[in-house]
Amino acid sequence: MKTKLTIAGLFAALFLSALPSTSVAHGDGFNDVVKVIERFYHVKHQSIPLLARAAMKAVRTGARIKGGDYKRLAEAGSVRVAFFEDQNFDSRGQIATFKALMQTTLEREWSPLVQTLAPKDEEQAYIYIRDAGNKFHVLVVTIERHEATVVQATVAPEILAQLMKDPNEMGKTLTEDATIKDY
């Protein structure tokens, strides 16, 4: 009887281990990613008031799709932003581990689109995407040595089509667009 229970327990453990992990992902990619960054890098995100974000407009160039007219990329009211400023982002040679952690966290609902890593400079950019009816949710994570930004926005497919032409610039373009408030 004891042997039966042990074997049944082993089968149950095998079955459970094959199921997707629910301990990390909870369906809200934005908050999950912010937590992953905080835990991996031992940093804390800051909420920056809208007024402060508006001030950033003065020192930044407006987001434009290359070769096109200026237009807002993200759908109105769809933007969520988390900033990490004046903090230390040191992967300790484990940048691939962080990349895998991002993937584990988001894989249930989000698809990876572009990931660029430069470990020496501690620079990383991740763009994930998921369906939002006839539009797309785009999640952009950019990490540098002393700052990071997480942006989630809804974009129309025609905007996404143009951004896809230059995936390496897509994250920067969307982040600039999302962090600049027009007046």
């Binding site: 074997i7 691939a96 895998a100 890593l117 089509a161 230059d166």
Partner: protein, 190 residues
Amino acid sequence: MKNFFQTSWKLAPVLLLLVLGNAATARAQGGRLQVDQLDVLANKASQTVDVKLDERLLQTTWKFFSGKDPDEARIKEVLKGLKGIYVKSFSFEKEGEYSQAEVESVMSQLRTGGWSKIVTVTSKKASENLGVYLNMTGAEIGGLAVVSFEPKELIVVNIVGPIDLDKLSSLEGQFGVPELGIEKEPKKKN
């Protein structure tokens, strides 16, 4: 009941290998290469680029390219039938940062499953280790792969769906596909 558990327990590792084997084969089929095993190189690489444009994304967005602008019209035509664009690119500061095993993990897939090397291509980059491979499923093109391995660089481009060298050229420098400088070799005169 005891016999059932004993037999199941003995068969479990075999079943597990069968499931994992089938999954790996399935991923490598139909013009799609399995290249996620290369991700470990990210820790050693000075620059890593990983682009994944899947069928759903391509099929949702191709129609938004203009048919009037010649460049966009060409892109639109190319993207229309594609099922995926996948790029992995690693640059290294020093030589010898990746092993033959990593290259072999890709090349072994290209020796089976309907892949054949296109021998009539050259590259402006003068890479000695650049190969262009075409996947055929019957008479249909299932995909194309470009593998370039230099002492300080490893690039794998995998485009799934109906694609040829002309279409590949129109994607170079866009959609994450690097400038490969691939050219058809001129036909030799007899």
